[in-house]
């Protein structure tokens, strides 16, 4: 792979002259192919943030020489390749993006086979002014059934290709680590669970780390799916009784279903949990909590309590919310926000946008385990009008977990569109008019990275910079027994 760069029109022309001299590359004589080139990942016609790492890609067109010119007004980057892999130099890319904010990058791809060059139709990437949060945290795990071996929660700096571990399970006797959650994209307040012997919920607030055993006598299980209250004091948890099933045939290998579930709230100040009959009822199964940005509402999904005769594929969750008074720790009125069951659909992963105007969720045919549902798609609800619209980012395969950037202009979501088994993180831009742009895959240094990478990117969460956490603090705390939380009754 040979890289060449130029930084103004003059230089670019000089470079082209050089190329012409060396390789019989006559720009004017090159026939134009009147279609877009096939590039993998599909990085054509995107809106991209001004701080994203180089969008390296592979040109999937027959040829023995490849040339890519990325231009914005007077600046350009030229990348030349013999195998079709286009690795854009980081420094040049950053400079190019800096000058292209609010403008478009134009990509022109030339392919040569037997010294005959062809030029493909150019495509563009619009560089929008709003940055995406610098870190993307995810759990890397084999997308398996029930076993695990190596796993970890990592933070990827999306402005480059660096990846830092938040916690790896080698540090906690190979136990499962899961359900990482950050308070409103904050790098200072976060939590995750460590399962198994000596397990617990590790909570880090402004550098102080605590390990809690969130299971009390009154609960079905310890905390499972978390959601931080914006004040950083409370964490809403679902508590679930879960079982896996294996399909004898068909597209789905496994199904996971709740036998029962409830919601509780953990007060991290007093290490107590509390709940309310509205979210801990015997008639319903409540799960997937998420707070409104003002902390006044707790959103969650709810289905009728299953019985012995309930078919797993008839359990459908609606979107609910309940008012919450953080000062008095009291719950208020319960509302049905979206009745998915009447459409024979089920809601999972409700996430309110940082401005509180929209709510994104996943809709699938049934149940809570949309990550294995091919039909699972992302939808957005306007919380004022309650109007629901299917997002244009969906594919024929699974779209499931998603999270917002702190500025609400970007969101990241998991999609299994590449191979049907491994989730990959995609970013999409939310325009001022509420429309959503074409999604793009988290870029990697190696354009062929995803082709053979066997792990799945689980729970992608965007986090602001700077993230300077000392992992050793987490490891040390994980070694100690978890502190038991107490159950408290609401006033």
């Amino acid at each position: 792979m040979i890289l060449r760069t130029g930084f103004n029109d003059g230089l670019f022309s000089l470079l082209l002259i050089l190329l012409i001299g060396c390789n019989s590359f006559h720009e004017s004589d090159i026939p134009v192919v009147n279609r877009l080139p096939v590039v993998i990942p599909d990085y054509t016609e995107l809106s991209i943030p001004p701080n994203i790492a180089p969008l390296n890609f592979r040109i999937k067109e027959e040829g023995d020489k490849y040339r890519v010119v990325i231009r914005c007004h007077k600046q350009s980057v030229v990348v030349q390749s013999t195998d079709g892999n286009v690795v854009i130099p980081e420094r040049k890319w950053k400079d190019l993006l800096k000058s292209a904010v609010g403008k478009e990058l134009v990509y022109t791809i030339y392919v040569s086979e037997n010294n005959k060059w062809e030029k493909f139709k150019s495509y563009t990437n619009k560089v929008v002014p709003e940055e995406v949060d610098q870190y993307l945290f995810y759990r890397l795990i084999y997308p398996g059934y029930e076993l695990w071996n190596e796993m970890g929660i990592y933070g990827r700096d999306v402005t480059c290709f660096d990846e830092i571990p938040l916690i790896e399970n080698k540090s906690v006797h190979n136990h499962c680590v899961n359900c990482h959650s950050f308070k409103q994209n904050s790098p200072d307040t976060f939590m995750f669970h460590v399962r198994g012997e000596k397990g617990g919920t590790i909570i880090s607030k402004n550098g102080l780390v605590n390990k809690l055993d969130t299971k009390t006598q009154n609960m079905l299980s310890g905390g499972v799916y978390p959601a931080w209250h914006p004040n950083g004091r409370y964490i809403a948890f679902s508590t679930n009784k879960i079982q896996q099933f294996f399909h004898a045939r068909g597209d789905k290998f496994i199904d996971v279903s709740d036998f029962a579930s409830n919601l509780v709230v953990l007060d991290t100040k007093t290490n107590t949990v509390f709940s309310d009959s509205s979210i801990q009822s015997a008639e319903f199964m409540e799960t997937f909590p998420d707070w409104s940005p003002d902390g006044k509402y707790l959103y969650f999904t709810r289905a009728e309590q299953r019985t012995d005769s309930t078919q797993y594929n008839t359990i459908r969750y609606n979107l609910m919310r309940i008012a919450f008074d953080a000062r008095n720790m009291t719950f208020g009125e319960l509302e049905l926000i979206y009745d998915a069951s009447v459409q024979n659909k089920s809601v999972t992963f409700p996430k309110v946008s940082p401005d509180g105007k929209n709510l994104m969720f996943t809709l699938s045919d049934y149940g809570t385990f949309s990550i294995w549902h091919k039909e699972a798609d992302l939808f957005m609800m306007d919380l004022e009008t309650k109007k629901v619209s299917k997002l244009p980012v969906n594919s024929d395969d699974v779209e499931s977990y998603h999270s917002w950037s702190s500025n609400g202009k970007w969101f990241v979501f998991s999609s299994k569109r590449m191979d049907g088994q491994c989730a990959r993180p995609y970013f999409a831009y939310v325009n001022n008019d509420g429309t959503v742009g074409k999604p793009f895959l988290l870029p990697q240094k190696d354009p062929e990275f995803y082709d053979s990478y066997l792990k799945t990117f689980n729970i992608p969460e965007l986090v602001k910079a700077p993230f300077n956490f000392d992992t050793w603090k987490l490891v040390r705390e994980a070694a100690f027994p978890a502190k038991k939380v107490k159950h408290t009754t609401l006033k």
Binding site: E146, N149, K170, F245, A248, R249, G420
Partner: protein, 573 residues
């Protein structure tokens, strides 16, 4: 004529190489093939990076690199022989620098310890390579005399040795600290020894907190603690040998036995001792298990039956693969009792145990009877448990192609393309991921798809009878499932249930298979079509009354009746 002149070291170097080569070529085939199936070296940055997050990752990477040559077992034997010979040569240099008497003998003992270590089927080349690297560090440290340089080199080597070989760094640090105290005469040797000791204790501690983020105790042991400490005694022995060498070099200074004939005698005696130890440790039962499971995994059914033969190895892999071989050859119900079935119905399949390392084997049963989704389940869990290795990846390619998930299959093919020896296989099969219509026409895919149940339901996995019954109800023309269900009833002593399913069996067999007829002879003699079976049963009953039955001809011992009376581990009905 040119006369080849060999000194003593040269002579023993050749002997070491030849002995290792002959030993691993003749007796190491099963072990080498097993190891090959447990590792897959990939030429990719992602693969390399995954080794860097634990101490000793680099030596693990190197071990995986050399293990890739096990693809051809003779090449594997050559690699092992070469590495052991390198250990002999390097330890010879160390011992020569220490002026240790009997240096060839001691070097040979080191090699014998490593050979013994490699005999354990779980042990890789990790220890051999770690010893080589640490011997190189020791040689470089011994080559300097000035205390300051010695100290700096010693300290740097500790850090490097720990980073490259992990807890194997003790092979370097302990002998070096001992040598510092014993070999050198200067006053600084005490300072050096203390500083070396402090550094060797503090490096893992520091790196555990600031780099690896692992518990402190793990930092001092990794990767020695893996595989249930099987490496630990060997490594301790290696360190002890080196330590004794240093001490003996000092104590028996000046004794020039190297050039004497006595040295040859001592070395020869040690070599003989080594041969005896190594041969005695050669476990023929384990070899049978490894050979059978290797052949079974690679679906070499004749080989499986050859290796099993008359062996009475108590390991579930043996009946599991024997029965799979019989099923694939279409003679499961004819020859079921020709082979040992001491495990009863448990010899037909593996039950799902979370922590059991049998996932790589268990999926083949499900694939055989048409539960491709479940076969995928087992194969994938095996990948999670033991890592991406070639047999599992190939299985996953196959399963995904049958299930029409070509993009899933392509991902596994892309992994195999990054290897040296499986690249060709991957390239050859890559086209199957492009053309789904063409795939649909392939006989093996068509056949397997025809076995998949027509309706979806949840697998039980723990009660296999239920899964097999569901299958034969859904796909009565699935002969493999019918065979296995019948075998299950025969082996679990539930012949009455078998009789109830005779109509189903008859769909696949114009003449009832031998084992089924033998069961019928007991419970429904009117169904038996082969009069010889009834006569044999009569003869069996008569023989049984006498004590001669165990010495009766094989036909009687290899019968359903004998199995039920004397072998079956299940409750008698």
């Amino acid at each position: 004529m040119y006369k080849l002149k060999l000194n003593e070291s040269g002579f023993w170097t050749i002997i070491t190489f030849l002995f290792s080569l002959v030993y691993f070529s003749l007796w190491g085939q099963a072990l080498i093939q097993y190891q090959n199936d447990q590792h897959l070296f990939l030429y990719s940055e992602t693969y390399w990076q995954q080794f860097l997050n634990m101490p000793g990752g680099m030596v693990q990477w190197l071990s995986a690199f050399f293990t890739q040559f096990y693809y051809y077992y003779l090449l594997g034997a050559i690699v092992i022989a070469l590495l052991i010979t390198i250990v002999f040569l390097l330890s010879g240099i160390v011992l020569k620098q220490l002026k240790t008497p009997f240096k060839n003998s001691i070097a040979l003992i080191l090699c014998i310890v490593l050979t013994l270590l490699l005999q354990n089927y779980e042990n890789t080349l990790l220890a051999v390579l770690a010893v080589i690297i640490n011997l190189l560090f020791i040689i470089s440290w011994l080559s300097v005399r000035r205390w300051g340089v010695r100290l700096i080199l010693g300290l740097l080597s500790i850090v490097l040795s720990y980073y490259i070989t992990g807890a194997f760094y003790w092979v370097y640090t302990i002998p070096v600290i001992a040598a510092e105290l014993i070999v050198y005469r200067d006053i600084y040797r005490f300072i050096n020894a203390v500083l070396l000791l402090i550094t060797s204790l503090s490096v893992p501690y520091y790196l555990a907190i600031h780099y690896y983020y692992i518990f402190i105790e793990a930092a001092y042991l990794y990767p020695l603690q893996t595989k249930a400490y099987t490496l630990l005694p060997y490594v301790t022995a290696l360190i002890a040998i080196l330590l004794l060498s240093i001490i003996s070099g000092k104590l028996i200074k000046g004794v020039k036995l190297e050039k004497s004939h006595r040295s040859y005698v001592v070395t020869f005696l040690i070599l003989c001792l080594g041969v005896i130890i190594v041969c005695k440790n050669n476990n023929s039962k384990l070899n049978t298990i490894l050979k059978v499971s290797y052949s079974g995994k690679h679906q070499q059914w004749n080989q499986v039956l050859n290796f099993v033969g008359e062996s009475e190895v108590n390991n579930l892999l043996i009946p599991y693969y024997t029965n799979l071989a019989l099923a694939h050859k279409g003679v499961l119900l004819d020859q079921l009792f020709c082979y040992s079935q001491k495990a009863g119905s448990k010899g037909l399949y593996f039950t799902w145990e979370k922590n059991q390392h049998l996932k790589e084997h268990g999926g083949l049963f499900f694939y055989t009877v048409g539960y491709v989704n479940e076969a995928h389940h087992w194969a994938f869990e095996s990948l999670v448990q033991t890592g991406a290795v070639a047999p599992v990846l190939k299985d996953l390619v196959r399963y995904n192609l049958v299930l029409g998930k070509t993009s899933g299959a392509r991902k596994y093919i892309n992994v195999l393309k990054q290897s040296l020896f499986y690249r060709q296989w991957a390239l050859k099969n890559e086209h199957l991921c492009d053309d789904t219509e063409k795939n649909d026409q392939l006989n093996w895919i068509q056949h397997k798809r025809s076995q998949i149940p027509s309706e979806d339901y949840f697998m039980d996995v723990k009660i296999y009878e239920k899964d097999l019954l569901n299958m034969v109800v859904s796909k009565p023309d699935n002969k493999m499932a019918v065979d296995y269900l019948a075998a299950y009833y025969l082996l679990s002593n539930q012949a009455q249930k078998l009789i109830d399913k005779l109509a189903l069996i008859k769909q696949h067999y114009p003449v009832l298979p031998l084992a089924v007829q033998e069961a019928c002879a007991v419970y429904a003699p009117e169904i038996v079509t082969d009069k010889k079976v009834l006569m044999r049963y009569k003869y069996y009953k008569e023989s049984r009354r006498t004590t001669e039955i165990h010495n009766a001809d094989k036909e009687l011992i290899h019968s359903f009746w004998y199995y039920i009376d004397f072998v079956c581990p299940h409750d008698k009905n």
